[in-house]
Amino acid sequence: MKQKEKKWTYVNKWYIILPLAFLMVIYLIPLGRMLWLSICDKETGEYTAEYFMAFFKDGYYIGVLSRTLILSLWSVVFCIIMGYPVAYKVAHMKGWKRSIATTFLVLPLWVSITIRMFGWMAILPKSGVFSIILQALHIISEPQNFLGSNVGVIMGLIHCGLPYFAMIMISPIENVDPYVEEASYVFGAGFVKTFFKVTLPLTSPGIVSGALLVFALNTAAFMVPVMLGGGKVMVMTNMIYQQTMFIFDWNFAAALSVVLLFVSMFIVTLSSFLSNKMRIQE
């Protein structure tokens, strides 16, 4: 019987060996080599921890790492605040209206990131529209240049993360049983109370996984700090770029990449750990 089953199926071991060999050569071996370079001395080729020591002992590099995380965290906060209501609205739409709403929501993701950041570069300068709006709202008193500032980079990060967050939130919100919300209304709770006591708690696993995804994406964002940071806002990714392409300290660049890799891995592991835990609680 077993023999027969084997003869029946067209899938054999080559279906995995071939792609695995391909991935090994172009992906896994380069990553392994990078790990090795980060702990190997430039001249002697012996094991050394000097690059990691240089990173963790220098307050400048620690500052860069914490800036990376803080900017990313701010963008996540705004993605939740801005993305949740949009997802809520889209989840309650139907037909062509919903088509249009989703199309415009993900349109930015399908436009090359270079073009999106170019748009922000036209918005953020001193004479740009962002400064004009903030002046009109009396948040700033004089025209200000936001290109090359933390605020500018956060704007770019929100713009990249928001569509993902909203799209992820649509199905958890949709899955909330309408009768549960209705029951809340029937028993006299208003919209606000129903939202905060019923809808929000029911969709909180979705919020956590969406937020962590955006956090991981934005921590690793490259074009945003490169184009909107203007060389002034240093985060991990553009520092790696600088070390690799302009300073040519490849061992140190490898060490920086390893640090960023571990940070991303930590966020992703945390995400899967939390989503498993919440699934058990349910």
Binding site: M34, Y88, V106, T114, F118, G119, A122, M167
Partner: protein, 261 residues
């Protein structure tokens, strides 16, 4: 209830405006008369479009991007579908490890991979830059193909295949005549995703930049950092329009919500 609805509509309009503002600004600046693309603009002119039309560099870089994207998408579609079929047919501990390995490019920051690839292959002078880009793009495209095809296979009834086999079709014939046609939609949406990933790829190219392979995101980047003229806006505006049409067609055929789960 009513006032919350109104407040919600206003808030959502502001969010949509925020999302679309950069794209709108790019389109508006392409008609501006000034030499630098800063919004708000003044005047109205079409000269940037005619200038963009006569810029050979831009069209060359789009052609290079297409040449890379077509080949890398083809490779990753074949490999990704093979892996998905393997995952579909097997179980066990080893499969879980393979899954982690193949999905890794979605988790590992592209910057990290770009550095790793540069360090590993900088000494390989005999591999032309074109193939370096094709191969490195494949690695980040394969997870997208696997995700779409696996989703399609998940909903596929095994009895279709069994029926074909019982009726005497050879396994390979079953694959080509039954299984692959059944998951056609998954493969196509995987190909679309993979193609866009490759065509718009802007991170790896920054590290593997080379005079002979200036892809279109890199060409845009160099123009933006060096000149910042509205000609780039004109060029970008055309691409925004193309993206809009493509994405609306995809929404009508596949439903975008299904693609972002």
């Amino acid at each position: 209830m009513r006032k919350y609805k109104v407040a919600g509509t206003i808030f959502n309009s502001v969010v949509y405006l925020f999302l679309l503002l950069p794209l709108i600004v790019v389109i508006i600046t392409s008609f501006g008369e000034g030499n630098r693309a800063v919004f708000p603009t003044h005047g109205f002119t079409l000269k940037w479009y005619s200038e963009a039309l006569h810029n050979v560099d831009f069209f060359e870089s789009v052609f290079i991007s297409l040449k890379i994207a077509v080949v890398s998408t083809l490779i990753s579609a074949v490999l990704g579908t093979m892996v998905s079929l393997y995952f579909w047919k097997t179980k066990g501990r080893l499969k879980e490890i393979f899954e982690l390995v193949f999905m890794a490019p979605m988790v590992v920051p592209t910057v990290v991979y770009a550095v790793a690839f540069l360090l590993a292959f900088s000494s390989w002078k005999f591999v032309v830059p074109y193939w370096k880009l094709v191969l490195s793009y494949c690695a980040i495209q394969i997870p997208y193909v696997i995700r779409s095809v696996t989703a399609a296979l998940y909903g596929l009834d095994v009895s279709f295949e069994e029926a074909s086999l019982v009726l005497g079709a050879r396994p390979m014939k079953t694959l080509y005549k039954v299984t692959l046609p059944c998951i056609k939609r998954g493969i196509i949406s995987g190909i679309i995703f993979a193609f866009v990933v490759s065509f718009d790829e802007a991170v790896i190219i920054m590290f593997l930049r080379n005079a002979s392979t200036v892809t279109y995101p890199l060409r845009l980047y160099t123009h933006i950092t060096e000149q910042f003229s509205p000609m780039v806006s004109a060029f970008s505006a055309v691409f925004i329009l193309i993206s809009f049409v493509v994405i609306y067609v995809i929404e009508r055929i596949f439903g975008l919500s299904n693609m972002y789960q």
